[in-house]
């Protein structure tokens, strides 16, 4: 039997529970820092690298130091055709950050993500759990103001 086959029943069960557990930790801590993932590794018996691998696969499980509000601009084709780049440009102008970066006051993180399923409202973005569709570069400042 291979080493993988010798895995304890509990660590296999924990693997199945990993995504819900990551989501729960994210809700509790706001992000998935090394401390959070290390304690999750201790709790589940899964290696830290495996948990990190799973978390980094998903755009909605931020492992980097994330800002209080995470802006996710859809990077897929329909949004791109409807000037998602203009939206990103406008966010850049307002906050002074590029996709992948967090503002110095840690209020906002900006990310460009895969399709968020709002093609009918392209270009679209999400701030935390709220969807903003039919965006124009001019609307960005007003939307961001509501988070200040």
């Amino acid at each position: 039997m291979s080493a993988a086959g010798k895995e304890t029943q509990s660590s296999i069960a924990n693997r199945a529970e990993l995504l819900p557990a990551l989501k729960q930790e994210l809700g509790k801590n706001g992000n998935l820092s090394k401390t959070v993932l290390t304690s999750l590794a201790d709790k589940t018996g899964l290696p830290l690298n495996e948990i990190y691998g799973v978390a980094t696969f998903y755009a909605y499980l931020p492992v980097a130091a994330a800002g209080k509000n995470i802006i996710r601009v859809c990077g897929c084709l329909p949004c791109d055709l409807k000037d998602a780049q203009g939206v990103i440009g406008s966010i850049k102008k307002e906050l002074g950050i590029e996709p992948g970066q967090t503002t110095a006051d840690a209020r906002f993180s900006l990310e460009q993500v895969g399709c968020i399923g709002a093609c009918d409202q392209a270009p679209a973005m999400m701030i935390n759990d709220t969807l903003y569709g039919n965006l124009t570069p001019a609307r960005i400042a007003e939307i961001l103001k509501s988070f200040k």
Partner: protein, 225 residues
Amino acid sequence: MGNMGRVKLNIDGTSVKVREGTTILEAAAVHGITIPTLCHIKDQLPTGACRVCVVEVEGSRTLMGACHTPVSQGMVVHTHSPKVVAARRVIVELMLTAHTGDCVNDTNAENCVLHNLASDYQVGAPRFNVRAPRFYPAEEANPYIVRDLSKCILCRKCIRACSDIAGKNILSIGYRGFRSKVVTGFDEALTAEACRDCGICIEHCPTGAMSAAPGFKARKVGIVR
């Protein structure tokens, strides 16, 4: 076991009889036909990540991965037909595109199975331009292992060897798409604390992305196929 559980098939014009559940790769090997592989580890569960083992199966819509396709009764397989060779050439070319190692000019190029395969299949310089090449600085945090992830083709052999053979589980795939990368811990350097001198990943790595540090010559890159 008599004829029970035996499967008869044809590989490259030769009639072959093997046990049910055998893969095309294993059946071919028994009869002296070599199908190239990069991600396959003998006697371990197949990964099917690299695709260089694809073969033509008559009646099948697509080419099949020989390392993970079990034989079936009456199957007719071509392991080196023009269609197969053309596909393999592009598969190797695509991997070379993301393989920013220096094996082209490197005197240690015999360590790079991908380089040898490219040479066997006369692939030449890749046609494709990667907008953001997968480049990572070589990492020498470990006294035993040098990691140069620019050479990595994401075949996952090191991960499987580490977890399924050595039972250590130090390596995983992190991120996704072009950013995919073999990670340790919280995507940290592979320190001696995390990984000692078992060297199993070095033996399994087909491209020299994991190699023995100078002064630690116990292990040779890519000797396990």
